[in-house]
């Protein structure tokens, strides 16, 4: 086996790639985005609404159940058990990416399922996070035994969520740049390294500081949780206007990197699936492919961040604003990021996700049948190509409109006059058209 054998084409995991969105649908989608943008400028409200939207606590009975320590302990224990199972499967189970539980669980159920769950239910990751649950459990036990742990360092607040962004970039590098990304051993090793960093961070800076700033997954899912109609305020579960949490501003340092990772990683995933990219990389040696992929991935992330910064600088000039707007409009990009995720991974989630049934029964591929679903055969024909295309273009159009609404609301609350707000909006509008139409264009490439 020579070293310069061409690398596998696979990305993350998944046996099927979508067919490209047909050109006519791309043109309709792009036209719809432009029309929606013009209408939005004309008819949107004249004073900030989302920012001032009120929150209502859920009924006390429901609160007691949702916030009960018992629920927390049970979910946390289940989650820790799942983490142990996935890592064990990755280490000692079969080395086949499709027959081992670890790759499908991590890349499909966890990585795609959690953003969806967060958008629907809010920040449930806070309770489901196995690293947090284990750390909390350990802290509880050590406190009971009289040895309360004091973190030796204070978290430097100016770092913001940069550590989380760095860890996320490491994760998407494994998923989209490393070859083969779905190797069970690599997935398990990555989970172990992530666990070590997370628990070390929590021990050094305190659990609260680390899980709010340093844990990549908490920051990532937390971003999507802000789209949800449910949130936690002062120890109460509240019902709020969906997306209103994105219109409040007050972003931590490094949030721009989080948003850029969402947009840039999905854009790179799409780009690297095109014939153009595959034709240029498939004969290269594995190390070369991984390096090119890394450069491409980082390039896409930097592109997302720098276009945003350019648009914000332009908005500031157009509106004649004195204040720094660099973090002001980040919330408006979150729905667009989620739309990117839906557009790219909807079919993968539905098709590859079915494999979790046989894998759950036989996670190591030892021939077990724990739940009687070992022989379940996934149906890969349940999605018509046309269905996938409409979902893809529809998600991007809806995400675009939501982004516009949030940016508009932000502008109204930041500027004293509607006129300045609208002028600032032109720049954000241009940026969003670029992101949405660009995302659609990548999906339409063969």
């Amino acid at each position: 086996m020579s070293l310069d054998a061409p690398a596998v084409l696979a990305h993350g995991i998944g046996a099927i790639q979508d067919l490209p969105v047909p050109a006519w649908l791309f043109y309709y989608g792009a036209a719809l985005v432009l029309v929606a943008s013009f209408i939005a400028l004309g008819v949107l409200w004249k004073e900030p609404r989302l920012e001032r939207a009120s929150e209502r606590p859920l009924p006390p009975g429901l609160q007691r159940v949702l916030l009960s320590p018992l629920l927390r302990v049970v979910l946390g224990a289940l989650s820790v058990a799942l983490l142990v199972l996935v890592v064990t499967a990755g280490l000692v189970g079969t080395d086949s990416p499709t027959l081992n539980l670890a790759p499908t669980f991590v890349y499909v159920v966890f990585w795609l399922g959690m953003p969806l769950l967060s958008v629907v239910l809010g920040d449930v990751w806070r309770v489901l996070n196995p690293w947090r649950a284990a750390a909390d459990g350990l802290a509880y036990l050590s406190a009971r035994m009289g040895g309360a742990w004091r973190p030796p360092f204070a978290y430097p607040e100016r770092l913001g969520v940069w550590p989380a962004a760095a860890l996320l970039i490491a994760f998407v590098s494994l998923e989209l740049a490393y070859r083969p990304p779905d190797d069970p051993r690599a997935v398990a090793a990555a989970a172990l390294v992530y666990s070590w960093i997370t628990w070390s961070g929590a021990a050094a800076f305190g659990r609260r500081a680390w899980f709010e700033n340093g844990d990549g997954f908490s920051a990532y899912f937390g971003l999507f949780a802000r789209m949800a109609a449910f949130g936690v305020r002062r120890g109460e579960v509240v019902l709020r206007a969906p997306f209103s949490a994105l219109a409040k501003g007050g972003e931590k340092a490094g949030t721009i990197a989080l948003v850029a990772v969402v947009l840039g990683s999905v854009a790179f995933d799409g780009l690297s699936r095109t014939n153009w990219w595959e034709d240029r990389t498939h004969t290269a040696a594995k190390a070369t492919v991984v390096s090119i992929n890394l450069l491409g991935l980082l390039g896409c992330i930097v592109f997302a961040a720098s276009t945003y910064l350019a648009a914000v600088a332009l908005a500031r000039r157009l509106a004649g604003a004195q204040t720094d707007l660099r973090t002001a409009f980040l919330g408006s990009l979150v729905p667009i990021g989620f739309a990117y995720l839906v557009a790219h991974y909807f079919s993968l989630f539905v098709l590859q996700g079915q494999y979790i049934l046989p894998l759950a029964s036989d996670p190591f591929h030892y021939g077990w049948d724990l739940f009687g679903t070992k022989d379940y055969v996934p149906d890969l024909t349940i999605l018509e190509p046309a269905t996938i295309w409409y979902v893809q273009v529809g998600a991007l159009v809806v995400g675009h409109v939501l982004g516009l609404v949030i940016a508009h609301d932000r502008a109204l609350s930041l500027f004293s006059s509607v006129r300045s707000a609208l002028r600032a909006q032109y720049a954000m509008l241009g940026l969003m058209v670029l992101y949405t139409v660009g995302g659609m264009w990548i999906l339409s490439r063969p």
């Binding site: 086996m1 020579s2 054998a5 061409p6 690398a7 596998v8 084409l9 696979a10 046996a15 099927i16 790639q17 979508d18 067919l19 080395d95 990416p97 499709t98 083969p180 190797d183 051993r185 014939n275 595959e278 034709d279 498939h282 004969t283 079919s347 890969l380 024909t381 018509e384 190509p385 046309a386």
Partner: protein, 120 residues
């Protein structure tokens, strides 16, 4: 670890348009103006031959092949005996026998793009 290096990857591209069905074609609905046929018309079409796709796994490269949906396809893969061919999606694994090329027949029912990998 995957023991695989991939010497050849073929991406099969199943297109929605030009959908074909191998089922018995529906006879045209009888209409009033249709003259009564006096000769026996052969209603069975000639059986459609499978679309044969030949791949030489010794020459590295990336090729893409479009196949109409519903079509019967026969992959004929030549190469080193013992090498394993993996048709993704349909999840067919076949070794190249010592006696000749590996033959993988399948019906193109799943729309999408799939890799055909040579795993050594």
């Amino acid at each position: 670890m995957l023991s695989a290096g991939v010497a050849v990857a073929v991406v099969l591209f199943l297109v929605l348009r030009g959908e074909e069905h191998d089922e018995e074609p529906q006879p045209p609905p009888p209409t009033a103006t249709q003259p009564k046929a006096t000769t026996t018309v052969e209603t069975r079409p000639r059986p459609q031959l499978p679309l044969t796709v030949r791949i030489n796994s010794r020459s590295p490269g990336l090729t893409r092949i479009s196949v109409p949906r519903g079509r019967q396809v026969l992959l004929v893969v030549t190469g080193e005996p013992g090498a394993e061919i993996h048709l993704h999606g349909y999840d067919v694994l076949r070794r190249i026998p010592a006696t000749g090329p590996a033959r993988i027949p399948f019906r193109a029912t799943i729309p999408g793009r799939f890799e055909i990998e040579l795993e050594e």
